[in-house]
Amino acid sequence: MIYAVDGLMATIGGQHILSGVSFSLDAGECVALVGASGSGKTTTAFAPFGLLPAMAGGSARLEGEELIGCSGTTLRGLRARAGFVFQQPATALAPHLTIGAQLAEAWRQTGAPRPTHEELVALLAEVGLDEPERLLAAYPHRLSGGQRQRAMIACAIAHRPALLVADEPTSALDAPLRAGIMRLFDRLRQTRGLALLLVSHDLPAVAGHATRALLLDNGHVVEAGDARTVLTYPVSREGRALVTAMPRLDEPLPPRPPIGAPLLEARGVSVDYALPGWRRRRLEAVKDADLRIAEGEAVALVGHSGSGKSTLARAIGRLGPQSGGSVHWRGAALPPRARMRTGHRRLIQPVFQDPAASLDPRWTVAEIVAEPLLRLRPELDARQRAEKVRTLLDEVGLASDFLDRRPATLSGGQAQRVAIARALAPEPELLLLDEATSALDVLIAGRILDLLLRLQRTRRLAMLFVTHDAAAARKLCHRTIAMEAGRIVER
């Protein structure tokens, strides 16, 4: 037995956020913690090791030694015997130390002698990184997202721990990179006998890779057992909600609402940026892209990060720059960004990825939703506006007691509903959804997707859905367009 958790509890500021969580991990096994955000899965993973401001109770034994209740110095030593992988590889690595320096530090964290150059090269090869010479001398910001996460994993296993704790290790990565990281974990479990405690909201990955799964809800384990069984045939109400919220590529497609006349047509749109330096080189973010959207049609724009999909959507919506080509609205040319009139602005409305960041924290929900009405619907008076705001909130499924709340008091899903209500306020005909569900966890993202499906039917709204989630795109959209390196490659 490498890691055994028995009756784990956790409190933050006297409030119970976790109770009675028990599981155990043997060499080579993988236990996955799944659940909606706020269900306590990250707390379960980190609280015993003192990596959260939470007070932990109960018992958690790492290789037979109790973690709960020991002194700070003892816990520090025990913590060093496990390895940790965090969600954001971009920020979890120290920006000012080379990969080589960070690997060497991790290698020595349990007292091993300084690693030789060959040992570090072998370690990088073990996590599937090429060009070890360049990477060892490089700072983290010079690495790609996937390379960073592999480097992070190399740091986490450098001191040959028996237990690896990974918190959403793939959620910041694109689909192909995710699969690669999951395969790497499988290999490390086999070759090193590593026990893996995995926090994830990627249910298909959990079903495919984990030995056992624990489904948490509100700080309690609601379901536990063989990973594939728990995630395919959940018996609890919470489990079924979680599993059904996840769009899957194998479920039958719902009928699509009918499509009307052509609405928007982009011809040969390109966007480029000047690169820093005096050689005046330019970065071509979007090259010669054609795109058509009809009334009531939902079009998915998919691609890796950096493929130019958001840049294209922003150029079309006149929110970002455009360097070439033209955009037509019902056959007439749409003016460039600086010359858009309120009448044009009304037609296309955006919803962004991070709802918390796209709402002004000092405004109330009522003010946020009413703002576009002031400019884009000047014919309404104050009373009509207030009435309209109430109707809009009702339409996105928020009660009127949300009117006076501010963004900081909203959950991610609620904030995204407010952002959608704001976008609907001026009665647009096209909604630009820029990764509108990507920052939300499965359950919440599923509900937002349901809301969008409903709006698609009731309002006959056209949508351009920028996403890297192929399953969500398939559920919502009539057509999918793929972008790669700034070009549209598939339609």
């Binding site: 990596l51 030593g77 913590r79 940790f84 965090f86 920020t91 120290a94 920006p95 530090e105 820093p276």
Partner: protein
């Protein structure tokens, strides 16, 4: 690194040219001239003096002559200290100012960073509160208050140190002015370091360091301090140029023969070449220290170097 150097140098030359041109013209636009004293000179003497220094020529010719001299390292004659060239005056004053400012910087940097780090170890603890209060007071008190207070305490009451004067660079003469000059800078550095560390210590990579089982002291020194010092570097660049080219107030309080007083007297007397020389020196140092700060950013946080 090379790219930063090249880019900086390419902007430094036009900047220097603009500084020289603007100060040259502004000095001439300001009312009054170098030969206006309380008792007016008779017109003939005045004209003779103006002719001797070339001030009766067209402005463009004066500028041309000045630039030509400058290119040969000649800052011209002082119009007020008639027996000296501006080069002589600067050669006398600069070593004093450089010593004073360099020592003040050498005291303020480690003192400020150490105080900031100590305060950031336990935010809200007693050390944090005492140190930040001290830093605020040090920043707020002008050196014309701290200077005389230091003299009062250590020179007049205790009699340990001399009251004023250069003493040929005797360390005992330097101690009080260096402290008076270093205190406000150290206070500002301490506050910036404390704020930078508070931000950095809350970042993800510090949690990674904690997960590695490192001690809090090691986390602070190895994982947090360097990225946290970026704001300090951007403050110290221009501040260092100011310290090194003469702290007017401290030099006056302690009667030190530094560069600062030439700046003030030169401006009041319309001693055109003297003021221009000090301005050029100051601008050059600002450019130099901003370049050093830029290179420092790249080391403190490699993301800044691109």
């Amino acid at each position: 690194m090379r790219a930063i150097l090249v880019r900086r140098l390419m902007t430094a030359l036009p900047t220097m040219a603009a500084v020289i041109l603007l100060s040259f013209l502004l000095m001439r636009v300001a009312p009054g001239g170098p030969f206006d004293a309380e008792r007016p000179l008779d017109p003939a003497t005045r004209a003779a003096l103006a002719h001797a220094y070339g001030l009766d020529r067209p402005l463009i010719e004066q500028l041309g002559r000045y630039l030509l001299g400058l290119a040969q390292g000649d800052f011209g004659p002082s119009l007020v200290y008639r027996d000296f060239s501006v080069g002589d005056l600067v050669r006398q004053g600069l070593p004093v100012s450089l010593t004073l400012g360099g020592l003040a910087l050498a005291v303020a940097l480690p003192l400020g960073i150490a105080a900031g780090a100590l305060a950031a170890m336990r935010p809200g603890g007693w050390a944090d509160r005492v140190l930040m209060l001290a830093a605020t007071i040090a920043t707020l008190l002008p050196s014309f208050v701290t200077g005389p207070l230091l003299v009062l305490a250590f020179a007049l009451l205790l009699g340990w140190l001399p009251v004023s004067g250069w003493g040929g660079g005797d360390p005992r003469h330097l101690l009080l002015p260096v402290i008076a000059l270093a205190l406000p800078t150290a206070g500002a550095i301490a506050r910036l370091a404390r704020a930078g560390l508070a931000t950095t210590l809350a970042q993800d990579h510090v949690r990674t360091a904690r997960a590695r089982g490192l001690s809090e002291g090691r986390i602070l020194l190895r994982h947090a301090l360097r990225p946290a010092l970026v704001p300090v570097a951007s403050y110290v660049g221009p501040a260092a140029a100011g310290l090194l080219t003469g702290a007017v107030v401290v030099e006056t309080v302690f009667a030190l023969p530094g560069l600062g007083r030439y700046f003030v007297q030169g401006a009041l007397n319309r001693d055109y070449p003297l003021v221009l020389a000090v301005v050029i020196l100051y601008a050059g140092l600002i450019l130099l220290f901003n370049l050093i700060a830029d290179l420092l950013y790249g080391w403190l946080d490699p993301r800044a170097a691109g």
